[in-house]
C-alpha cells in the first residue's frame, strides 16, 4: 500500500492506505480522530465535513491521494481550546439533540463564516443545505451561527 504524508490540525502524519481511501476513514480508523462522522458516504449529509486549506469539504468523497500537500482541519483542531465562537454558540444555544451531525454542521458553518463573516439568514440556509440534522435542530443551528457571526 502506498504511503501518504498528511497535515492534520497542524500535525504531520504518515499513513499507509490505498489511494482511493476516503480521508474520512483515514481520520477515523488510521489516526483515531473520530470527531468526523460517517453518515452517507456520498456527500449528501455533511456529517463528515472537514476543512481543506480552510474550505469545507466532504471527507467521505475526498480521497487520501487528493489531499497531499494540503492542510486538513477537523473538528478536533478547529480551535486549540475548543472555544471557537461557533463551539461557544453551540453550547450557549444548547443546540444538540443526539449530536451526531453537529461536528459537521460546525465545520460547515465555520467555513461559511470565514468566507462570509456576516451572512444573511438566506445565506446561512443556502450554505447549510447540505448538512442533514435528523433530529431537526435546524433552527437552533441557525441561531447559533447568527450568534457567532455577531461576536
Amino acid at each position: 500500500m502506498p504511503k501518504y504524508k498528511l497535515t492534520v490540525n497542524k500535525k504531520k502524519y504518515e499513513v499507509e492506505a490505498d489511494a482511493d481511501t476516503p480521508v474520512l476513514w483515514v481520520l477515523r480508523d488510521h489516526l483515531d480522530l473520530v470527531g468526523t462522522k460517517y453518515g452517507c458516504g456520498v456527500a449528501q449529509c455533511g456529517a463528515c465535513t472537514i476543512h481543506l486549506d480552510g474550505k469545507a469539504a466532504r471527507a467521505c468523497v475526498t480521497t487520501v491521494a487528493a489531499v497531499r500537500n494540503r492542510s486538513i482541519t477537523t473538528i478536533e483542531g478547529l480551535s486549540e481550546q475548543g472555544d471557537h465562537p461557533l463551539q461557544q454558540a453551540w453550547v450557549a444555544h444548547d443546540v444538540p439533540q443526539c449530536g451526531y451531525c453537529q461536528a459537521g454542521q460546525i465545520m460547515n458553518a465555520a467555513a461559511l463564516l470565514t468566507a462570509n463573516p456576516k451572512p444573511t439568514e438566506a445565506e446561512i440556509e443556502a450554505a447549510m443545505r447540505g448538512n442533514i440534522c435528523r433530529c431537526a435542530t435546524y433552527n437552533r443551528i441557525k441561531e447559533a451561527i447568527q450568534t457567532a457571526a455577531n461576536q
Partner: protein, 710 residues
C-alpha cells in the same frame, strides 16, 4: 409527600477508596405505576434507578441509567436526583451507567417513558441520600434531624453550625437507611424547571468519542456485511476471490444468508463487501408496493373477525344518515435514517462476551446475545454508548446479534458497521399503513364513526380507546394485519405517526362538511365524550386545555394576510399536544412557515431541552409528511441513500413556537408526542391555502399528482 420503605427493600452503601461513598439503590419489591395522582410507595416498586457518589470535597457523581438517543435523559434524569439530594448542579458530574440490572431497572430508551416511569424512583434516590446525610450531621451535633435544614449540599442547625455533604458523607454511609423520607414540594424545586445545559455538548462540539461508531479496541477488526439485495431472497453461493485481494481484508465469514467481510479498516471492509460475488435464490416471494396496496385496500372493505372496539349501533346509524363522509389515507414504509448507521462492537470469548454500542434496549440485547451464544447473561458485559439517533430503529437487535455471531465465528473482537446503503436497503422500516374513515351525519350531527385500519406486520394499527372514543355513541374500530416479508420496526410514535395525520385530516373535512369551525368542532366532541359516561383513555380537560392554548397563541381564525392556518390535536405517549400550522404561498407553492404547538406534559423538568425535543418532533413530522417517499419493487427498496430519499433540510424547516401548559403534575414524555399531529396541521393548512385535500404521504408527490398547486 412522605414515602415509606418496604422491609424487604435494601440499600447498599459501599465505602470507596479515597474516602468517598457510594449510595446504591436496589429495591426488590414489585413496582406498580398506580393510577395518576396515587401516592408513591416504595413497597410497590421493583427497583430504584440511580446511584450517587459523593466525594470528600462535596463533588457529586450521578450515574445516568438510561440510553441517550438525543432525548436528553443523560441531563434530565440526574437533574431529578440532584434536586432531591439538594446539591448545586455545578457540583454534579454525570456519568453514563453500563447495563446493570442489579442496580437499575428499565434501562430503555423508548415510548417516551424515561422520565414518566422513573420520576418517583429518581426523586427517592436523591431524597433518601439527603436524609442520611442530615441524620449523620444531626448525630454529630447531637441535635434532632428535624432541627437541621439543608441547601445546596450544606447542612445547618439551629445553633448556626454548618457542615458540607463531603464532610459528613463517610458517617452517613454507616447509618441505617431511613424508613421514611420527605420529598420536596414541587414549588420548592431549584433545579427541576430551570434551563440546564446538555451535559455532553462540550464533548459533542469538540469531536470527542461518544458514539458506538467511535469504539475502537485492541486487535479489533472492522466488519461490513453483504445481505440479500431484495426482501425474499436467500444466499445460494458466493465467491470471495476478489474480496480476498482487497488490501486490508482479513477474512470472510458466512452466517445464514449473509457474508461478513473482516478487515483492518472500515474502508477495506466496504471495498471487500462490494467485491463479493453472490448468487441469490428466492426464499419467499418478493413483494412490491403495488401488491401491498391492493391487499391493504381490500382489507379496508372487509369486516374484521373481531372489532377492536364497538359501541352502540353503527349499522343503523349509517342506514339512517343524511350524509356519509368516507375518506381513505395511505402511508408508505419509511426508513428510520438515524444519522449514525447501525454498528456494534462485540468480543465473544470462550468464557463470556463484551458488548459495546448504541442500543435503545441493552438488557434485551444481552438476553438475546446470551441465547445465541448459549451463555448466561452474567457472562456478558454491556456498555451503553450515546446514540446518533434511535427513532425506534435501535429498539431492534438484528445488528447486535450480527456482531455477536460474526465475533463468535471469527473468534475476533469486531465492530460491525452498516453502510448507509445497507441501512436503507436491508434494514427495517416503519410499516406501511392505510386507513378508511367513515362518519354518518344526521341533523347536522355526527351520529356514527367507523375506522378500519391496516398495515404491515402489526396486530393493531388503530388506537381504539383514544379520541374520538366516547365522543360518538355509535363507534366501530377494526384492524387488519398485512403479513409481509419486509422487515418492520417501531418508528418514532409507532402507528400514531400516520394514524394521527389521517384522523385529524379527516375530522377537518367533517368539520368543513358540517360548516363548523375545526377548533370548535373538536372541543364540542371532547365535551360530548365527557358527558357520555363512556370509558376511554384520555383526559378531556387536558385535551381541551392544549386546544385552547394553541388556538390562542396562534390567533386561530385571524391569521395575518396571506397566511393560511390548519389545526390538529393528538394525545400520544401520555402527553397532550395541539398544533396550528401556518402556510404561505410562494410562487403559488404552499410553504410551511410556522407551527405553533401547545403541550401538556406535566411538569417540565428541563425547559431548554424540552423545547428542543418538541421542536425537533414537529420538524421531523413536517419533513416526513412532505418528503417521505419510499416503496418496493420485487422486494427491492426504491432508494439506497439520501440522494434518492429526501429528508427535510434547513431551508425547509419551519419556525416552531412551543407553549407548555403550566403544570406541577408528574412529568410525561416528549420524545414522540409532538410528531403525530403535525402532518394533519400542515395538510389542513395546505387545504386552506389551495382548496386541495391531501390523503397520502409524501405531500410533495400528492400535490404534484393532484395539481394542488398552480
Amino acid at each position: 409527600m412522605k414515602t415509606s420503605y418496604n422491609r424487604r427493600s435494601f440499600f447498599k452503601v459501599t465505602a470507596l477508596a479515597g474516602g468517598g461513598v457510594l449510595l446504591g439503590f436496589n429495591w426488590l419489591a414489585a413496582q406498580s405505576m398506580g393510577a395518576p395522582g396515587s401516592k408513591a410507595r416504595l413497597g410497590e416498586m421493583t427497583a430504584l434507578n440511580g446511584f450517587i457518589q459523593i466525594d470528600v470535597t462535596g463533588l457529586v457523581t450521578i450515574m445516568s441509567p438510561n440510553p441517550e438517543i438525543g432525548q436528553n435523559v443523560k441531563t434530565s434524569m440526574p437533574m431529578i436526583v440532584a434536586e432531591e439530594l439538594d446539591v448545586a448542579w455545578k457540583n454534579v458530574v454525570v456519568k453514563q451507567a453500563p447495563l446493570n440490572t442489579q442496580v437499575f431497572t428499565r434501562q430503555v430508551a423508548g415510548g417516551s417513558q424515561s422520565l414518566r416511569q422513573s420520576w418517583k424512583t429518581l426523586r427517592l434516590a436523591g431524597a433518601t441520600a439527603r436524609q442520611m446525610l442530615i441524620n449523620a450531621a444531626a448525630q454529630k451535633w447531637q441535635v434532632a434531624p428535624a432541627e437541621c435544614t439543608v441547601s445546596e449540599g450544606i447542612i445547618r442547625n439551629a445553633k448556626g453550625q454548618q457542615m458540607t455533604y463531603g464532610e459528613i458523607v463517610g458517617d452517613a454511609a454507616k447509618l441505617e437507611v431511613p424508613k421514611e423520607v420527605q420529598l420536596k414540594a414541587p414549588k420548592d424545586f431549584k433545579i427541576i424547571g430551570k434551563d440546564t445545559k446538555n451535559v455532553d455538548t462540550g464533548d459533542i462540539v469538540r469531536g470527542k468519542p461518544l458514539y458506538g461508531i467511535d469504539v475502537k479496541k485492541p486487535g479489533m477488526l472492522y466488519a461490513v456485511v453483504l445481505r440479500p439485495p431484495a426482501f425474499g431472497l436467500k444466499l445460494d453461493t458466493f465467491d470471495d476471490t476478489a474480496t480476498r485481494k482487497v488490501s486490508g481484508v482479513r477474512q470472510t465469514v458466512r452466517f445464514g444468508d449473509k457474508i461478513a467481510v473482516l478487515a483492518d479498516t472500515t474502508w477495506a471492509a466496504i471495498k471487500g463487501q462490494k467485491a463479493l460475488k453472490a448468487q441469490w435464490k428466492e426464499g419467499t416471494k418478493p413483494e412490491s408496493t403495488a401488491d401491498h396496496d391492493a391487499k391493504m385496500l381490500a382489507f379496508l372493505d372487509t369486516p374484521a373477525a373481531q372489532p377492536k372496539r364497538s359501541d352502540g349501533d353503527v349499522k343503523t346509524a349509517f342506514a339512517s344518515a343524511d350524509k356519509i363522509v368516507e375518506k381513505t389515507y395511505e402511508g408508505p414504509f419509511l426508513p428510520h435514517s438515524c444519522l449514525e448507521p447501525m454498528n456494534y462492537f462485540a468480543h465473544v470469548r470462550a468464557d463470556g462476551a463484551e458488548l459495546i454500542g448504541s442500543c435503545q434496549t441493552p438488557e434485551r440485547a444481552r438476553k438475546l446475545a446470551a441465547d445465541l451464544l448459549g451463555m448466561k447473561e452474567n457472562q456478558i458485559s454491556v456498555e451503553i454508548s450515546r446514540m446518533g439517533g434511535g427513532f425506534g430503529r435501535r429498539l431492534m437487535h438484528d445488528y447486535v446479534l450480527e456482531a455477536v455471531e460474526v465475533s463468535k465465528l471469527s473468534g475476533k473482537p469486531i465492530k460491525l458497521a452498516f453502510t448507509r446503503e445497507d441501512e436503507m436497503t436491508a434494514g427495517l422500516y416503519r410499516p406501511a399503513s392505510k386507513y378508511k374513515f367513515r362518519v354518518a351525519i344526521k341533523d347536522k350531527q355526527v351520529t356514527a364513526y367507523h375506522l378500519t385500519g391496516t398495515g404491515a406486520n402489526g396486530q393493531n394499527f388503530t388506537r381504539e380507546n383514544t379520541f374520538p372514543a366516547g365522543a360518538i355513541a355509535n363507534y366501530l374500530v377494526e384492524s387488519h394485519n398485512l403479513e409481509s416479508n419486509i422487515t418492520t420496526a417501531p418508528w418514532r410514535a409507532p402507528i400514531t405517526n400516520f394514524l394521527a395525520f389521517a384522523e385529524q385530516a379527516f375530522l377537518d373535512e367533517v368539520a368543513q362538511e358540517l360548516g363548523t369551525d375545526p377548533v370548535k368542532f373538536r372541543i364540542d366532541l371532547f365535551e360530548k365524550a365527557k358527558a357520555s359516561g363512556a370509558k376511554f383513555e384520555y383526559e378531556v380537560d387536558k385535551s381541551i386545555g392544549v386546544i385552547k392554548l394553541a388556538a390562542e397563541k396562534a390567533n386561530w381564525g385571524s391569521p395575518k394576510a396571506g397566511v393560511y392556518q390548519g389545526f390538529s390535536t393528538y394525545y400520544s405517549h401520555n402527553t397532550y399536544v395541539a398544533e396550528v400550522a401556518e402556510v404561505v404561498l410562494v410562487n403559488n407553492q404552499p410553504v410551511v412557515q410556522k407551527v405553533i404547538c401547545a403541550i401538556d406534559c406535566g411538569i417540565v423538568v428541563n425547559p431548554v431541552s424540552a423545547i428542543n425535543q418538541s421542536e425537533g418532533g414537529v420538524i421531523d413530522g413536517v419533513g416526513h409528511a412532505l418528503f417521505g417517499d419510499f416503496s418496493f419493487e420485487a422486494g427491492k427498496p426504491s432508494a439506497n441513500n439520501f440522494n434518492g430519499y429526501r429528508l427535510i433540510r434547513m431551508p425547509e424547516a419551519p419556525q416552531v413556537e412551543i407553549h407548555f401548559v403550566p403544570s406541577l403534575n408528574d412529568p410525561t414524555g416528549l420524545g414522540e408526542p409532538t410528531l403525530p399531529p403535525v402532518g394533519a396541521a400542515v395538510a389542513n393548512a395546505i387545504f386552506a391555502a389551495t382548496g386541495k385535500r391531501l390523503y397520502k404521504f409524501p405531500f410533495v408527490k400528492e400535490m404534484a399528482i393532484q395539481g394542488a398547486t398552480q
